[in-house]
Symmetry: D2
Subunit: 114 residues, 4 copies
């Protein structure tokens, strides 16, 4: 299943429930942000060792949170008529320029401070 | 380009910069959350009409924010060894059960209040 | 009760539970962000009329979310030895300069685009 | 300066700019969430030692982010007619019940798993 097929699936799910009427860019982006928060909550208060242990024993739950995030990414790109594969490609090219290997290798420094 | 190929691309980008050493589930999830916030910021203070106009004239910028979100989704599923396509499928099946069409059609009500 | 007294209260609550050991700036800031998300969730999918109605009938719940946000603000300023009243004063002075009345009156434009 | 005086200050700042027209609970809560994210960004990718060093050398910047968070807390409680001091008091009483000292002391466990 690729991104186009996944997108068809979420749009069909929405259409069957007649939910398009509630969807606008702001509320879709809020949903995405809330799901990202729910994913983050899993790792809160844990050190590296605790996280690794937690990931092993709770992978299914974490995977579903990540799927929730993807759900909204797909609806947003659909509704805003964004070609996500193309945008991803453009963004990766920009990242290559923002973070030249020789300057950024082994450094956790933001591009504007390199 | 499908999710597997996209994931290879972000992992290769990271490996060339030797950044894996900085990555752990908590900070990856923070990154995802921060990028989701940046997307949301585009729609802040705007009503529906203003959003539609804004989306038309700023599609490239919005698309790149969404690509940033996807970037972290891909790294997280890679590092946590999550099969995102499978998780997405499981989650969509759960959503079907949580939101039966006859109960949820045309309603913006959360499943636990249906 | 002023900010100093409120801060004493949250610090005392924490000390009695011996929770300081788990607290570091990153996880405190995550907590703040998660509570802000929980507040936001109350208004998701609602138009202005629905929000006003919702606020009337759910004020207690919303108020407690806002108190949760304040809880973390107080702990952060305590642990990072920030004088929040002074910082607030400095920030308001900066806001006055960033948003001069004659340029910003009646406009929802960010300072860097004024 | 207490919370009432701070609130007067932000409301007066807004009134002079005639910004009330743009403010509704959803967008105010978005603002709060975005400012919380900006605070969190300061601690991203840093370990404990790096955070402590960073806090020392960047306290002013961090303090201003926290003041930004407080700014929106104050506007929200004003617009939604919330008595924040009272809500804080109620919430702290609830926290006492949710986290009894004998059960929660020294544990980073959420109340629903105690």
């Amino acid at each position: 299943m690729n991104l186009v097929e996944m997108t068809k699936k979420v749009v069909s799910f929405r259409n069957k429930r007649n939910w398009k009427q509630f969807h606008n860019p702001k509320d879709l982006a809020i949903s995405l942000s809330l799901e990202a928060s729910e994913l983050l909550e899993h790792f809160q208060w844990k050190n590296l060792e605790e996280m690794n242990e937690y990931v092993k024993t709770n992978k299914k739950e974490i995977a579903k949170e990540l799927a929730d995030v993807l759900y909204w990414v797909l609806l947003i790109q659909n509704d805003l008529k964004i070609d996500l594969v193309k945008s991803f490609d453009i963004k990766m090219q920009e990242n290559e320029l923002k973070y030249p290997i020789n300057k950024s290798k082994g450094k956790n420094t933001k591009y504007n401070k390199l």
